[in-house]
Amino acid sequence: MLEVRDIHTFYGESHVLWGVSLCVNEGEVVALLGRNGMGKSTTLKSIIGLTPPRSGRILYRGQEISRKSPFRIARLGLGYVPEDRRIFSELTVKENLEVAARARDGGPFSLDRVFELFPILAEREHQRGGSLSGGEQQMLAIARALMLNPQVLLLDEPSEGLSPLIVKTLGKQILQLKAMGMTILLAEMNVKFALTLSDRAYVLEKGQVRFEGTVRELQDNREIHDLLAV
């Protein structure tokens, strides 16, 4: 469904991604692992078009999206949930969600549906986004991306800065989405968290893919395990 082929991404003159390739099949949850600064966020940003790759291709359902504007990519069906959430702090919860709503031919997600999935947001419907706690903001960020009725969710370090209890709840919600058929690419530093949710995993080191395989294969691989310092 989503295919990244040999992309090279730069920040200015800084070469960050060196020929990254990966693919995500429909209904899968794929983890993108690696220590800080290894290129996970950049990969997601390249896919959604915020830092487009200088070379290489990105294909979504066979369609080339590597040179498109982010909003066009989003409208095609990719939901992006960035690192540090980036919710619109001066807008209310409801407004945050409404702003992302697109009339996509009958997707399962509407305001009501999203409030069902994340009841805590329903409680805070008219509160300013900036007044929410970290965990609530994370849920809002995910809910907001869902309002696009995406078919692929790009989650960038959702567990970062959250307490273990909240992380647990988050995990349940992600599994719920998976059960609904959502395809997810999950970039995470928290390896344990990521592996409980994923089917397959890629490991990035210094902007290159060092490992790809199933979760099982990863857990059996001593070297990679050490690399991730788990």
Binding site: P70, Y80, V99, R102
Partner: protein, 307 residues
């Protein structure tokens, strides 16, 4: 000793009241221009120097409309309806053809681009309409005056005083209670994220710029009957508008209103004290604000860092 004779120089209450109304009228017009300026600044991060030029074009536009229609009574209404739209179109062209090319460039270049437009329009106006001061008559229905609290005040100014809050309300409603407004506010807060959520940010930019231009053009049309239409009116209004925006807070809607009120009223009274240099009085306020509270009275301290 007769103390009252010491104060004969103090204008009577009616005069003061009239000056206050003058100040408020000025404020309303200033608000129209400044709100557009602060909107463009807040949403797009562009300091549109050409905003004064758009205002000036609006005034000259209404002059042309007046001459075309030969002073027909409805020409004012027509001017109000048509000219701001034309200015909005000009704004749209400026944004799409010129500004859009340099969003990726350093902020310096954006300032210089709008400055280039200012230079060009300044001479274009002279070219098309000549260097003489122009004027536009007030619509006959409003040419008279009314008595308010013992003061005789021009009806036309009253129109502006009433129109101002209406437009402010309209803008507020647009920004805070419509889908478009929410999208604009989201874009102002985090344009990258808005983009990643499917919002056509380039189009929003164009629309916001056009809205700002519309407001500036409208202000120009409304000013025309009571102010002099000169080829230098762009300079005075842009300096004043930036003062308003600075005092109120960069990108703040209410700040623009508050700033406009302050500047308009202070200027009206400043003219009494220091007749030819009222600019200095508002300038002093701006300097004060910049030293004590550089993000403006209603602005966001963090926003200042981002700029």
């Amino acid at each position: 000793m007769d103390f009252t004779s010491l104060f004969t120089w103090v204008p009577g209450p009616q005069f003061l009241f009239a000056q206050l109304l003058n100040g408020l009228t000025r404020s309303m017009l200033l608000f129209l221009v400044s709100s557009g300026l602060t909107l463009i600044l807040g949403v797009m991060g562009v300091a549109n120097f050409a905003h004064g030029s758009l205002y000036m074009l609006g005034a000259y536009g209404s002059f042309t409309m007046g001459t075309l229609l030969g002073g027909a009574p409805s020409s004012f209404l027509l001017a109000v309806a048509v000219v701001p739209l034309a200015i909005a179109l000009v704004g749209g062209l400026i944004e799409r053809l010129l500004l859009r090319r340099i969003y990726e460039a350093e902020g310096v270049m954006q300032i210089l681009l709008t400055y280039a437009v200012v230079l060009m329009v300044a001479d274009l106006v002279r070219l098309i309409w000549g260097p003489e001061t122009r004027g536009v008559p007030k619509p006959t229905v409003l040419a008279g005056a009314v008595t308010l609290l013992g003061t005789i005040y021009p009806s036309y100014n009253l129109l502006i005083l009433i129109l101002g809050p209406f437009l402010a309300f309209g803008l507020w409603f647009l920004l805070y209670h419509t889908a478009f407004g929410k999208v604009v506010r989201a874009t102002a807060l985090d344009r990258e994220m808005a983009n990643a959520l499917g919002i056509n940010v380039p189009r929003i930019f164009t629309l916001v710029f056009m809205l700002g231009a519309w407001l500036a053009g409208l202000a120009g049309v409304l000013t025309a009957p009571i102010g002099a239409i000169t080829p230098t009116m762009d300079l005075s209004i842009i300096v004043e508008s930036f003062v308003v925006v600075v005092i109120g807070g960069l990108g703040s809607f209410w700040g623009a209103l508050l700033g406009a009120l302050i500047v308009g009223v202070i200027q009206a009274f400043g003219i009494l004290i220091v007749p030819r240099m009222a600019l200095i009085s508002i300038f002093a306020i701006m300097a004060l604000v910049l030293i004590l509270r550089p993000w403006g009275l209603l602005g966001n301290p963090r926003a200042l860092l981002a700029r």
